[in-house]
Assembly symmetry: C2
Homo-oligomer: 437 residues x 2
């Protein structure tokens, strides 16, 4: 079954001219959602859709009442200060609004004059979290990351026996998730050097980023009702780029036996835009399991998942140091990867998470886990790039890093390309480290 | 500094006669909070306070406008469908409302006639979750539990080296927490027998309870602002009894390296009433650390914490099987313990959780971890009582259990007693297991 429809047509252009430039993030084929208001205003946040260098204010669209049926119900829900209600409506409403916006924004649309009233320049807006994230679960889907990190924490036993059977995940902290632009103080905590007798307290010395995707649940499920893999993607509203900041020295000391805790919950940062699952249809790809690896248990198998379960979402990481800002140097790219390398698919994550009856709520988020690719250069964390801090990496301006330093701004980007389809982008997620308190 | 005030006076009696019976849970010295409505009604849930076999409907009290100042602000906030706003007001407002209710409910109060209009019999009400639990963290504060469970999962290494330094905790799932009376299907999932080559999928065979306290945060803190231990208890609104249901066979296979996940998030059950930290003042006790154990790092130390940091909250567990219900047999007590055995105090949990800048929101919940005491009979889980399933325990009607069976209703109770003070109770938390789907 093809997931491609008229909204993905590469030949579509918009009357918003900036949407038609080559290599932009937000052509008319993308149409991602966020929560916005005018910068430095006290306006209420409301839903918006990106188009070129503008956004469409969905509260304004709702007032204009230019849509009807499911699209109008959807745009009314998306006018709220969080997208949760809209996300909870389900695929039929998400698709209806996407199609209505695609048509209204096309070159020659009869709604151009009316809809122009709802445009705001992206340069003039600020973002909130797109939704209330009730629960957040972080997965661990890159076998390259799991193996590399495992070899640092457990040299004799890098990849545990359950990894190839269980989509490993753990619960994260919602309260400290914020939107791109988050700044936070270097965390304090307990650490213990391998040669120390007792632990000590102080600022984290091994502060790291993790290059992840955030996956937003739309329609939830009732407690006790597992989501079958054939139905899993209908529950997935969309994706963002996600930086799961990590304090490696805190993590090494605290994580046994119940998992990472204070090493993670001081800050986590999402990109403002949610690229919908529907927008990603052209960049889907087959999912395979190496014949030497165990094949998944039945509840994690479906034909659709084999044929189109993977997403080729490309991602990269850049570091912008204080020195770069002072000297006008552009941020330095430090790695690049793709979600297509994931050992488990999104559908498998959703199904596994609910197979015991656990319930999702609209707006819940899954982290993909650090998306490291098969080569060392594709590693999604400094822990891996610096081989546990043993080898500093050199940035494009000559500075070196094993872990992050105060003043570093970490930028992550995501985008998709496929022959015969438009390039679409996720925008970026940025976050800056302030000195420890 | 004494935490005792006039609301704790053992000589106080109420014009609600049922509050004055010996050994009741809800004398006038208790005054716990819940969210209630009349059974089988479509009324809005609103805050209530227990008194004897009645509750005081706080939305009605708000309408009656018999209080003033902070107490009136507090009762207005406590009239909402969740207690979050009230909990976020802080200690000054919680205390003002407690004192106002204590005075108004005392024998001879001028408000008796008016306040009588706000009484509803407990037999006629149903409960909701008392608040929106944004984030839930489960701690692991019983060294007896950690040692006993550790010896089952890691016979060669039962208590890990960090245990005596770090108040170990991990993030839990909020969406599947419900109030007493929760029923849920035995979870399905992946398990792997020690002698099996590959894992298999099916219903959990080692379903267990965990006897815990739930600790509700009141006033939160901003991201980046650690809560000093001297100030920690001001953020703690109150306590409930909490059953952290656990699927031991799922847990054993999935928990490495990131901690328990599907073994926990299928259901968690809280008792409806929140007993406030203030109500617990008479049952506080000193907290000591064995001289052979390491003393805590400075950030986890305070004079107050040493003198009064512990809470002697007694708890027990009863199992009511289907056969007991069929034959009219009373539930069988299977263990009994006290929170006073906790290796870490509530203040230490709060301070540790925020020392990296992590932020609490009003209504967030901490689990104490399974409260097993020093003797085998005080173990807070069947895993421990049955020594990993190897020795069945015999219930009072002759039935035996190593783990829970379908139809079992697990009842947990909490209460406090101290010389010269009233006995107060937490009520109970109950939950029943349905067959796997």
């Amino acid at each position: 079954m093809s997931l491609i429809n008229e909204t993905h047509d590469i030949n579509l252009t918009s009357w918003v001219a900036s949407a038609n430039v080559a290599n932009g993030d937000f052509p008319i084929q993308n149409l991602p959602f966020a929560e916005v208001r005018r910068k430095n205003s006290s306006e209420a946040f409301r839903g918006a859709v990106a188009i070129g260098d503008q956004v469409i204010d969905l509260a304004k669209v709702n007032q204009l009442a230019i849509f009807s049926g499911d699209a109008q119900i959807a745009v009314a829900a998306a006018s709220n200060a969080t997208l949760n209600e809209f996300m909870g409506l389900g695929q039929q409403y998400w698709s209806a609004l996407r199609l209505a916006l695609s048509k209204a924004l096309r070159e020659g649309s009869a709604e151009q004059a009316t809809l122009s009233e709802a445009l705001i320049a992206q340069a003039d807006i600020e973002f909130a979290l797109p939704c209330r994230i009730g629960d957040y679960t972080d997965f661990y889907t890159s076998i390259y990351h799991a193996t590399a990190v495992g070899s640092l924490f457990r040299p004799d036993n890098p990849l545990l026996p359950n990894y190839k059977w269980v989509p490993i995940g753990y619960h994260g902290r919602s309260s400290s998730i914020d939107v791109s632009g988050q700044t936070f103080h270097r965390p304090n905590g307990q650490t213990k050097a391998p040669d120390a007798e007792v632990p000590s307290f102080g600022p984290c010395k091994r502060l790291d980023y993790e290059l992840e995707l955030g996956i937003y649940l739309g329609k939830g499920n009732d407690l006790g009702d597992a989501i079958a893999i054939e139905n899993a993607e209908n529950h997935v509203f969309g994706f963002c780029v996600f930086n799961d900041w990590s304090a490696r020295d805190l993590q090494a000391w605290e994580y046994q036996p119940l998992g990472p805790f204070l090493a993670k919950n001081f800050a986590s940062t999402v990109s403002p835009w949610i690229v919908t699952t529907e927008a990603l249809a052209p960049y889907r790809t087959s999912w395979t399991r190496d014949e030497n690896d165990p094949q998944p248990l039945d509840y994690l198998e479906s034909t659709h998942n084999r044929e189109l379960g993977a997403f080729d979402i490309k991602m990269d990481v850049l570091i912008e140091t204080q020195k770069m800002r002072d000297e006008g140097h552009t941020p330095a790219q430090v790695s690049k990867s793709s979600f297509k390398h994931s050992y488990w698919t999104v559908a498998q994550m959703v199904t596994h998470h609910t197979v015991n009856g656990c319930n999702f709520m609209p707006g819940d988020m899954l982290g993909s886990g650090t998306q490291s690719g098969p080569t060392h250069e594709e590693a999604g964390s400094l822990l891996e790039l610096s081989r546990g801090g043993k080898e500093k990496i050199t940035l494009s301006n000559g500075e070196q890093r094993s872990f992050l330093e105060d003043g570093d701004n970490v930028v992550m980007r995501g985008w998709c390309e496929a022959d015969g389809f438009a390039r679409i982008g996720f925008g970026s997620v940025e976050g800056t480290i302030l000195p420890a308190k």
